[in-house]
Amino acid sequence: MKTIWQKIALAGVSLAALTAAASAGTVRVTVAEYSSKTGPYFAEAEKAFEAANPGIDIQFEVVPWDNLLQKLTTDIAGGSNADLSIIGTRWLVDFVQQGVAAPLDEYITPEFKGRFIDTFLTPSIMDGKTYGLPIAASARAMYYNKSLFEKAGVSEPPKTWAELTDTAKKISALGDGVYGFGLQGKEIETDVYFYYAMWSYGGEIVEADGTSGLDSQAAIDAAKLYKALIDEGATEPGVTSYNREDVQNLFKQGKIGMMMTAPFLSGQIKAEAPDLQYGVAPIPAGPNGDQGTYGVTDSIILFENSQNKAEAWKFLDFLFSTEWRVKFTVNEGFLPVQKEEAADPHFVNDADLKVFASLLPNARFAPVIAGWEEIAEKTSNALQSIYLGQGEVEATLKAAAAEANTVLGK
């Protein structure tokens, strides 16, 4: 029988061997937690990949989305960042300008590039180089409550903002804690909720000359439209206390006639409110027929300081195979980013997703500008003042545009 000391010595030796192996081909990956299914999905992918590639050890860090940018900032400042990470594609420009993200072009084969739908790959390409691969994509459309529409005597989802105003008022008139239009006025994407209307009126976030579009006539019209909806009781009261999830909750409870949000709400409704009669329609058009939706992608990037780039790429190649893509996209309720993935029966037979996919030609992505988050923050603040009635529409937007122009360097 071995003595206790022999056992300890043995354990020590095997531990040493283990750490040596770990440092040879370890790929650390930071991923955002989109839902409770994210962690298990990546654990499964890790197992499958490691079984096929015995020399490589994959280590995942699953981080809540809200803390992701904070974690990456501190990791990068301390030089302890992972090899791969998911980031919001709108942050990519900062990562590229500061030399944090590595270009992937030397690894990308034409076959690999051909797997992607161009619309989704384009936002990750800067100065002709590909710095990220779109791992998650979504767009926005209008959800409407069919039962409330019926009660209010409206048969079709509104096609223009004028019709939307009309319908919203009719639904709010039903009373009993039911409101026509769910307006988001708090936290992340408060600005985006405003852009839906601004784009329909023909506005742009950044105009052709590189200045902010917040002081354009379209922006002013859109803000006046929302303010009028609030004042006439066509939205839920106290919009500045409702973030996206709060408005979605009201919709799931059947208290709201219409709202704009991402495809994942369909999945949530199926799980949490299966009896809700709802439909998905395009975002209404403005007076000149302009229309727009917000497209968002998250990218997975390779860090410039990674010691195991070849191994990391191998894992990316695995992750972007059709089988693993379909699993991920179905789990999270996103839009498929690859052509073969999109042909999967899961997506072809989904009526809601078809509406989202049909809007993609008009989708606008967050503009590629350094300091985008700061502009988003200032825009949201200006909108909150307007919604609360603390600031006059034109003056508030003009002041916000001036601040945004400072950030834009104009």
């Binding site: 500061q98 009261p237 106290g238 500045t240 206390s241 919604y387 609360l388």
Partner: protein, 294 residues
């Protein structure tokens, strides 16, 4: 003059070194970031003539946050102490079920601050919140109050919750103080015919004085730096109208990516707290010495 014994200093040295490692080194790091041009990821790009501080003091949101932090700290600390003194007096007196009452008062302490704030955020929801449905059921309101929609209702509610979560700690300090007051003082006083109020003013309050000072200093430090309540409930919004310094700092650093300015804010906070603590402790000590002299 007596020669000073070096032994106490030697004994203090290890903990001083530890404190230096955990306090002085990060502060040094902060000074460096605050006085340099810094990129989004904390990499230094050269000294910039204190531009971070100049930008800060030109920012109306920062100045507003300073004022609001003062209001927040004073209101929460004063409120917590005003409530905690009677609570401690009651819990110190002998009554049936006192132990259970003590546990109940201490309970909020056992729940993490973030959880408390999340629960309140739900409770204050305009359409489906507990508070509105409670008030409606009691017939006190007809239409829902949108508690978190504007600062005029959100900030007072945040202060109220701040007071609520500060009570257990403060009460504990006062209970410790009360148990150190000998009972025969009260006996003697009532033999002399002192009323309950007189006993409180002339015996309890003066003898609680050192504990009151501790409660004020420690609570001020905690509350001044308290992040979760305001962040969870309003994120300093709408339109920065409930921002205090820590939430302003967080937005600057991790949302907007101005790490230089964010470090400058935290240095200003450090200086403010240090100043308050030194001034207060000196005043309190002088007063104590004056009492002893009398």
């Amino acid at each position: 003059m007596r020669r000073r014994n070096p032994l106490p200093y030697l004994l203090i040295l290890p903990s001083f070194l530890l404190a230096a490692a955990v306090i002085i080194w990060p502060v040094y790091d902060l000074v460096q970031i605050a006085s340099n041009d810094v990129n989004r990821f904390g990499q230094l790009r050269g000294f910039n003539d204190f531009a971070n501080f100049t930008a800060l003091f030109a920012d109306p949101n920062f100045l507003a946050a300073v004022g609001r932090t003062a209001l927040w700290t004073v209101a929460v600390v004063a409120g917590a102490i005003l409530v905690s003194v009677p609570v401690a007096l009651i819990l110190n007196s002998d009554f049936y079920g006192r132990d259970i009452a003590r546990v109940i008062v201490m309970l909020p302490w056992a729940v993490s601050l973030t959880m408390t704030a999340i629960v309140w955020r739900w409770a204050l929801n305009g359409e489906s919140g507990m508070l509105n449905s409670g008030l409606r059921a009691l017939g006190l309101i007809d239409t829902n109050i949108q508690w978190l929609a504007s600062a005029s209702t959100a900030f007072p509610m945040e202060i109220a919750i701040g007071i609520l979560v500060t009570i257990p700690f403060t009460t504990t300090i006062f209970l410790g103080g009360l148990s150190s007051i000998p009972g025969d003082l009260y006996e003697a006083a009532s033999l002399e015919g002192a009323s309950g109020w007189q006993q409180f003013r002339e015996i309890t309050l003066p003898l609680l004085r050192p504990f009151l000072n501790i409660a004020i200093v420690l609570n001020t430090i905690y509350v001044f730096n308290s992040f979760p309540i305001i962040w969870v409930m309003t994120q300093g919004g709408p339109a920065n109208s409930t921002d205090i310094l820590v939430t302003h700092l967080y937005k600057l650093g991790f949302r907007i990516g101005q790490l230089g300015q964010a470090s400058a804010v935290s240095l200003v906070m450090f200086a403010l707290l240090l100043f308050f603590t030194i001034v207060y402790v000196r005043l309190a000590m002088r007063e104590e010495r004056a009492h002893q002299g009398a």
